[in-house]
């Protein structure tokens, strides 16, 4: 049966929430991200309002560059607690239409409404209804793409932002994608894009026209998958379960640091945050990845797979530290550290033969989780982190 998939993407989410809550920011360029410190700030732009985009400000841009482009903007630090509360309200509205809601991030989700077309009408009608509810109840706007699969829906939602609704009729996916630049395909970065362009493949349609075999020869392992996407074919299901494939945290230091103790403590703090989220989502990770960026921006990642799936800082931290020791040399100035857990699997499963130590770690961790839930992230920390870490 033909599926109907919606991709719902909140417009400039963090900035929009701030503009909604602070009428004085409306109509002004709002930039949510790191502290710009008069242009000397570090870190990046998380989101910016459409007013800011007119100045050339983009998300993931260094905050110093944003400051240069738009010195008169309203610069705000992200209030994640507020955004995640609003995000919960958005997801709540979405789940009023179907159980099959797959949140991709705080401001983005896929919906499979195939089964509720008889109840609510065709995809386009459902999209109008949910946009209307988001606007009426939350005073925010969302762009929605409607298509027969996730990929096409996602491309569609992005096409007429902000406050857009784009419907791709069944059977017209390939035609819809054909004129788009090749870089729109998931998994094609700037380098691959340049390489393909040099070969005369600049649009999605041109890639589709190559055929599967040629695409695989050009693009290696992922060629066939990319070719299928280019043809508008994507059979990935919308999964309402734990949608995220990895859980990670990273921090850019205020000033590059070579202080081993401080770096170590930052890793411990990041490991703690990652482990806490693993437990919160009821999953365990089999792989720990360290991201390590030096002051000259050379970035290395190192990963290690574990024999056992883990969900405590006691298990994540030693691995992260060991990977770090493999990269760090005395005197090396570090700009950014990140810890990511992936290879997620459902918690539980294998029981432990010697539970005392791990169970004690876990019990302690659970008690700490409870304190954080009730009193916030600053309510409890490790003694070794007092004063020594980098606020993420």
């Amino acid at each position: 049966m033909e599926r109907t998939i919606l991709h719902v993407d909140m417009d400039a989410f963090y900035a929009a929430v701030e503009q909604r809550d602070h009428p004085e920011y409306r109509g002004r360029p709002v930039i949510v991200g790191a502290d710009p410190r008069g242009g000397r700030g570090r870190g990046i732009v998380a989101t910016c309002s459409y007013e800011a985009r007119r100045f050339g400000v983009r998300s993931a841009q260094p905050i110093s560059e944003a400051w240069r482009l738009c010195p008169g903007g309203v610069y705000l630090r992200p209030d994640m607690r507020k955004y995640s509360r609003v995000s919960g309200l958005v997801m709540g509205i979405l789940s009023g239409f179907t159980d099959l809601v797959e949140p991709v991030s705080v401001d983005e989700a896929f919906l499979d409404v195939t089964g509720c077309r008889r109840l609510f009408g065709p995809g386009e009608v459902i999209a109008r209804k949910l946009r209307e509810r988001i606007s009426r109840e939350l005073d925010l706007t969302a762009s929605v793409g409607v298509a027969t699969n996730k990929f096409v829906a996602k491309v569609a939602s992005d096409l007429d932002k902000p406050d857009g609704l784009v419907v791709v009729e069944p059977g017209r996916e390939r035609e819809f994608l054909a004129p788009l630049a090749i870089g729109r395909l998931w998994g094609i970065g700037p380098k691959t894009e340049a390489r393909l362009k040099a070969l005369g493949v600049g649009t999605v349609g041109q890639l589709a026209a190559l055929g599967a075999g040629a695409a695989a020869r050009l693009l290696g392992d992922h060629g066939e998958r990319l070719w299928l996407l280019a043809c508008g074919i994507d059979d990935r299901p919308v999964s309402a379960g734990t949608g995220c494939r990895s859980i990670g945290h990273e921090v850019t230091f205020e000033r590059d640091t070579a202080d081993r103790l401080r770096l170590r403590n930052t890793l411990l703090d990041l490991s703690e945050k990652v482990a806490r989220r693993l437990r919160a989502e009821g999953v365990r990770a089999r792989t720990v990845t360290l991201k390590f960026r030096r002051s000259d921006f050379t970035t290395s990642t190192r990963r290690r797979s574990l024999a056992e799936a883990v969900d405590t800082a006691e298990a994540v931290f030693p691995v992260a530290l060991d990977l770090f020791e493999g990269l760090f040399r005395d005197g090396m100035e570090v700009r950014l550290l990140g810890v990511t857990a992936s290879g997620l699997e459902p918690g539980g499963g294998q029981r432990e033969l010697f539970p005392p130590a791990p169970a004690r770690d876990r019990k302690l961790a659970e008690a700490a989780d409870d304190i954080v839930r009730r009193f916030g992230a600053r309510a409890i920390t490790r003694g070794s982190l007092l004063g020594g870490k980098e606020g993420a």
Binding site: L306, A307, P318, E345, Q350, R351, E352, L353, P358
Partner: protein, 369 residues
């Protein structure tokens, strides 16, 4: 330095040292073996700084001397030379080594011995263990050692030499293999407990080979020593506290199943094909006279198979990691095994039925289904 050895005796020794040499060592000299010619003998040593092996073979020595040669390269050359050939090796200037055998002629880059790590001295022998016994004990426990390097104290097997028995235990925290044998150990005057790293166990197996000679065992504060004939294995002691394994050996398992080993192993393998890729569990359902094995996964489908077993008791279901069960099935070496369980939450105990004089127990923690 100049000596002549037979290709076969040198090949034996080179074969033995390959396992110790680290394939990816960042310290170049550790890829080399120390070669020392003196009197009528060639001594060879290899080390990765944790495990060191010393062996050698008779040689006709024309000039005494020492150097170090790439273990891998020398092995590759020697194994390709014809069976029964003689090999003449001599040290040239600039630390090169010349190797001649029949019409073959090599010049090999070597490294001076000065940078080779100091080989630890072997301490006094404190016990003698029959080689065949040590071999079967290692074979029955080694697979249960954890693969996770960060669980340091589980990275090896515990060997306990007690006044009336010898015992070896290994675990990864999910299952535990324990093998023991009642005997008086020659040479032993005080109880000894040592953690032997996995790599050392592998090398001990090679050292013993298929022979039944006595293995000399010694230790000091830092190292363990194993000797077979003139060969010596020196291993750093694995530090850390091995868990209190005796506490987890179940004593109250009151439901007993007797199953034929091979059919059980085959059934587990067939059922496991359909186990969830991440959870990797199979379900064992015991009913009077039958064991039903099943597995399912949302992506793949499901499997079910019935096996006749000896079982009288209430119906019970328990989940296990099939790999853990198969490890025991492969190691137990008897036609029949027993599985005892209490309930679906606590550990099961597997044992060989009608076994030899080795007492073999295998404890497996179940999985939540």
């Amino acid at each position: 330095m100049k000596f002549t050895v037979t290709r076969n005796s040198l090949l034996n020794e080179l074969n033995l040292v390959q396992g110790v040499i680290e394939k990816k060592s960042t310290i170049p000299i550790l890829s080399n073996i120390l070669v020392e010619a003196s009197a009528e003998h060639l001594d060879i040593a290899a080390t990765d700084l944790d495990v060191t092996i010393r062996c050698g073979c008779p040689a006709r020595v024309d000039a005494e001397g020492t150097t170090t040669i790439s273990a891998r390269r020398l092995f590759d050359i020697v194994r390709l030379l014809p069976d029964g050939a003689d090999i003449e090796i001599s040290l040239l200037e600039n630390d090169w080594v010349e190797l001649r055998s029949g019409n073959s002629h090599y010049k090999i880059v070597a490294l001076p011995k000065d940078n080779f790590p100091t080989i630890p001295e072997t301490g006094p022998v404190v016990a003698y263990i029959p080689g065949s016994l040590l071999r079967s004990m290692i074979q029955r426990t080694m697979f249960a050692i954890t693969q996770e390097e960060s669980r340091y104290s589980l990275n090896g097997a515990l060997v306990a030499l007690l006044p009336d028995q010898i015992r070896m235990v290994a675990t990864d925290g999910h299952r535990l293999a324990l093998v023991s044998r009642s005997m008086e150990i020659p040479g032993l005057d005080a109880e000894i407990k040592s953690l032997i790293p996995r790599k050392t166990l592998v090398e001990i197996l090679k050292l013993i080979g298929d022979q039944d000679s006595m293995v000399e065992f010694g230790r000091d504060d830092n190292n363990l020593f194993f000797g077979v004939g003139s060969k010596r294995l020196i291993s750093r002691v694995l530090a850390g506290q091995f868990p209190n394994y005796e506490l987890v050996i179940p004593r109250e398992n009151d439901k007993f199943v007797i199953a034929a080993t091979k059919p059980l192993g085959d059934a587990i393998r067939r059922a496991a094909v359909m186990s969830d890729e991440k959870l990797k569990a199979i379900r064992l359902a015991f009913r009077s006279g039958t064991l039903e094995l099943s597995a399912s996964s949302a992506e793949a489908g499901e499997s079910r198979e019935e096996l006749e077993v000896e079982y009288e008791g209430e119906a019970l279901q328990i989940g296990f990691n099939p790999v853990y069960l198969l490890d025991f099935v492969g190691a137990c070496a008897t036609d029949t095994i027993s599985i005892s369980i209490k309930d679906s939450e606590t550990q099961g105990l597997l044992r060989p039925v009608g076994s030899s004089d080795l007492d073999y127990q295998y404890v497996v923690m179940p999985m939540k289904l």
